[in-house]
């Protein structure tokens, strides 16, 4: 039998202990939450049957934990322990203290709730986690400052540093290309990719547009758009190269170029009422008929341009007589090797650039095959009459006949000029006179308007010159008909020559066979793309920096 005084201690509002005593007796004293327990501790942290106090075999009082329950004796977790005075036992949230027994009690045991559940609103269990975004540690301003700071440093300050401070440490100078790359608007134009890391070559001063002198330091021979300096200055004023040449936009599209031209040329009459240039916006819509450049002299600038619309004026004065019809006969043209069928390219060979054709020459194109060999008839020697100079021709003839007549004199033969000629002169003088006479007579035959030289050339009679009174009209073959444009024959090699230049029926060299604009428009369209046609901007054929040809354009109109 155990007689136990159980003292339950609670606290009043001022925190003072209030003791409530209870006599508990029994062989064993159960402690727990169950109704049958002698020491009832009402808290759900206390087990239904938490512990029991009984006597040990030696008669000492001990406390034992029930199965599954946990008790702490003087700070350490135990299954059982003796209950000597001063022992502290923790049962759930209650602290049980064995006090010194007095009177007839075997045990005096006090119990106090030492770990109460929080009961105020600040300690509501469910409120222990953050219920607001701010409570999770997120911060708008912190993130904003970090992002803005990083962007300002990397994309604003660092790219500026190399320019503002030339005495930078090496690492910054070396890395400037990659730092500054973040400022580049787009891909560098192909021509400037080599200097893309050297921003300062062009952008010479911060916050100042690229000056023309920066461009001109490399591009030294760029032609003006208009040859007339005053007019050029009036039209373009202080316009910079960079206003048209956008070097940070990759390869500028054709459409852009077109728009740049059309900005002025689309309404050029409105801008300058004195101009003779037509308004042009689009190749397929309002481009006028081509003007052909006819040579008027030997100089490159000796040119007159005549629109193709004025057909009666389209006559080439080359000084030659040439029939394409004869030479391009399908049956062939007679040659020392028999009838030979000629093709255009037998005479017209592309130049190195593949744009136009090499000049035609007598030696290379007419005599090479032996067709137009200038032999004596009947052939008296292998010598040929020289081509290209009337004077040389006369000298050659005189030489030939002098040799013949002097030979005859030496051999005691008669001169071929008759006995009466050269009366009063010695034999040698008579021989030379005879030779000159023979040469003149033969030359007269050669320089006939429709035979000899006159077969291909126009012959002019020069009355003043008694020595050589004939002159072959100067040969002037036009090799560049569309002076203001760029045309590459090599790029059009898929077409037959005769598709554009039909010369098979041309009998005269004055015939002009340059295709009209309509022929080009069969394949090329202007700004607006059309299926199966080639979208062609102004700069497909024309060049902006091309003052010389445009000068003639202005002058001839």
């Amino acid at each position: 039998m155990i007689r136990c005084l159980f003292i339950q201690i609670s606290r009043n509002q001022s925190g003072q202990p209030v003791r409530k005593e209870l006599l508990v007796t029994g062989e064993a004293i159960q402690i727990g939450r169950a109704a049958g327990c002698k020491i009832l501790l009402l808290d759900h942290r206390v087990n239904f049957h938490h512990a029991v106090i009984r006597r040990s075999d030696e008669g000492k009082l001990i406390i034992e934990a029930e199965e599954g329950a946990d008790i702490t004796i003087d700070g350490s977790s135990e299954l059982s322990a003796g209950l000597s005075p001063g022992t502290h036992v923790l049962v759930g949230p209650y602290e049980l203290i064995a006090e010194t027994p007095s009177g007839d009690y075997d045990l005096v045991l006090s119990a106090e709730m030492v770990h109460p559940l929080p009961d105020d609103h600040e300690h509501i269990a469910v409120k222990q986690a953050p219920v607001t975004l701010a409570g999770t540690g997120l911060s708008k301003s912190r993130l904003a400052l970090w992002l803005a700071g990083a962007i300002t440093l990397v994309f604003l300050i660092l790219p500026m540093v190399p320019t503002l401070s030339p005495t930078l440490p090496k690492w910054a100078a070396n890395s400037q290309a990659s730092i500054k790359k973040s400022w580049q608007l787009g891909e560098m134009s192909r021509g400037h990719q080599l200097i893309s890391a050297k921003c300062d070559l062009c952008h010479q001063k911060p916050f100042e547009a690229v000056p023309d002198k920066a461009c001109e330091s490399c591009h030294k021979t760029v032609a003006r758009h208009i040859a007339d300096k005053t007019l050029h200055a009036n039209v373009f004023k202080d316009m910079r190269c960079g206003e048209c040449h956008h070097e940070h936009r990759g390869e500028v599209r054709e459409g852009t170029q077109n728009a740049q031209c059309a900005a002025c040329h689309g309404k050029i009459k409105k801008q300058n009422d004195k101009t003779k240039l037509p308004d042009i916006r689009d190749f397929s819509k309002d481009h006028p008929a081509f003007s052909l450049a006819f040579k008027t002299g030997h100089k490159d600038s000796d040119v007159i341009r005549i629109p193709q619309s004025e057909r009666t004026r389209l006559v080439e004065k080359s000084g030659l007589k040439f029939s394409h019809k004869v030479h391009l006969d399908k049956e062939g043209v007679s040659s020392p090797e028999g009838d030979t069928v000629l093709e255009c390219r037998d005479c017209h060979q592309l130049d190195k650039a593949g744009a136009r054709f090499r000049p035609i020459s007598m030696e290379k194109n007419c005599q090479q095959s032996g067709c137009h060999a200038l032999n004596f008839r009947p052939p008296v020697s292998k010598r040929q009459i020289p081509h290209g100079s009337e004077q040389k021709l006369m000298v050659a003839l005189r030489e030939y006949y002098a040799t013949t007549t002097v030979g005859k004199v030496a051999a005691g033969e008669k001169l071929p000029c008759g006995a009466g000629a050269g009366a009063g002169k010695n034999q040698l003088e008579r021989a030379l006179d005879c030779a000159n006479h023979k040469a003149y007579v033969n030359a007269e035959t050669l320089f006939k308007p429709d035979g000899g030289c006159g077969e291909c050339h126009e012959i002019i009679h020069v009355a003043d010159d008694k020595d050589v009174p004939w002159k072959v009209a100067p040969v002037s073959i036009t090799s560049h008909w569309l002076r203001n444009s760029r045309f590459t024959h090599a790029k059009h090699s898929t077409a037959k020559c005769t598709e554009c230049h039909d010369k098979t029926k041309s009998e005269k060299s004055s015939d002009v066979a340059i295709p009209a604009i309509e022929k080009c428009r069969e394949c090329h369209v202007g700004n607006k793309p059309v299926k199966n046609r080639i979208n062609s901007g102004c700069d497909n054929c024309h060049s902006f920096h091309n003052e010389n040809t445009l000068l003639s354009a202005v002058a001839d109109q």
Binding site: A125, L133, I151, L156, A259
Partner: protein, 308 residues
């Protein structure tokens, strides 16, 4: 109510203004025959750029105005309290009247902020001429678009969540009173559980101590607690209740109904946190993105003119 103040403000005043601006810009872009083609450096490109930058200033001023609003209200209240009888000059009255009728209210600013911000999508895109790259200029564009997208979500959130929050909290009052109610149910459940076995008691105790409303960002946004002790307790009580003696059933039913009620309140509390989080979270993106965009915009403008 939200819709009427934000979107319909002054009979769609800013919607009309923004639409006109967008239509005008698109037409100008389509019919532009600029010699330089479409890009930020053409005269039309500069115009779009200047317009866009001006709109950005207005958008940023909303942020300033919003933060000044409580100060202005406070100052007005203070002035009224200090000198209720003080005679206000006519000019001041007229100014106040003008401000009242010409969109100087915070709702007006917000409406303008929303519509002009949306117009910026078109204006700034046309400003780019659809040319993008790996550079500060495109970064500014991306940041701007991100800020605008987050802002669009914000409008959606403002229109949707307040109504859901009101419906969710119907009949309870404030969030704090809901928590008090939950705490009260916890205490009731604790007392009611004492008479039952240790299993039941432990479940109820765990439900009281382990249940959390809110939590980290993910938990707040999803209204979710993994293995929520309260939900588990309700499920386990259903099983454990089957083994009880007849005389315990009445008390157990009481305990069960308290726990079930608690579970529903916990769900509502979590929903309330979720709605608030979803209503507020976009601002944690919108504000930093806007400030970052402002920095990128300044870098963009400086870069353009530094290397002109």
């Amino acid at each position: 109510m939200q819709r009427s103040t934000l979107l319909k403000y002054k009979n769609y005043r800013y919607f009309k203004a923004a639409s006109l601006l967008v239509i005008f810009a698109v037409m100008a872009y389509l019919f532009d025959q600029s010699a330089t083609g479409a890009y930020g450096g053409s005269w039309l490109g500069y115009l779009f750029g200047i317009l866009s930058a001006s709109i950005v200033v207005v958008l940023m001023l909303y942020g300033v105005r919003k933060r000044l609003a409580p100060i202005r209200t406070e100052r007005r209240n203070l002035l009224n309290a200090l000198s209720p009888q003080q005679k206000v000059p006519d000019s001041r009255k007229r100014e106040a009247n003008w401000l009242r009728h010409h969109g100087a209210t915070l709702q007006g600013w917000l409406s303008a902020h929303a519509y002009l911000g949306s117009a910026l999508v078109v204006l700034a895109t046309l400003h780019t001429g659809f040319q993008f790259g790996w550079n500060i200029h495109s970064l500014a564009y991306v940041l701007m678009m991100s800020a605008i997208i987050s802002g669009c979500y914000g409008i959606y959130a403002y229109l949707r969540f307040p109504r859901l929050m009101t419906a969710n909290m119907g009949g309870i009052g404030t969030f704090d009173s809901l928590l008090l109610e939950i705490d009260n149910l916890d205490k009731q459940a604790s007392i009611k559980s004492l008479q039952f076995s240790d299993d039941i008691c432990a479940i109820v105790l765990k439900a009281r101590q382990g249940t959390r409303i809110g939590g980290n960002l993910f938990q707040q946004l999803t209204a979710y607690q993994r293995n929520c002790p309260t939900s588990q307790a309700v499920q386990q009580l259903q099983v454990l209740g089957k083994n009880l003696k007849y005389d315990q059933l009445k008390s157990f039913d009481d305990l069960y109904s308290v726990m079930a009620h608690k579970e529903s309140l916990v769900r509502r509390a979590r929903l309330d946190v979720m709605y608030k989080a979803r209503l507020g979270f976009w601002l944690y993106l919108h504000t930093p993105l806007s400030i970052a965009f402002l920095a990128a915009l300044i870098a963009h403008i400086v870069a353009i003119f530094f290397y002109w």
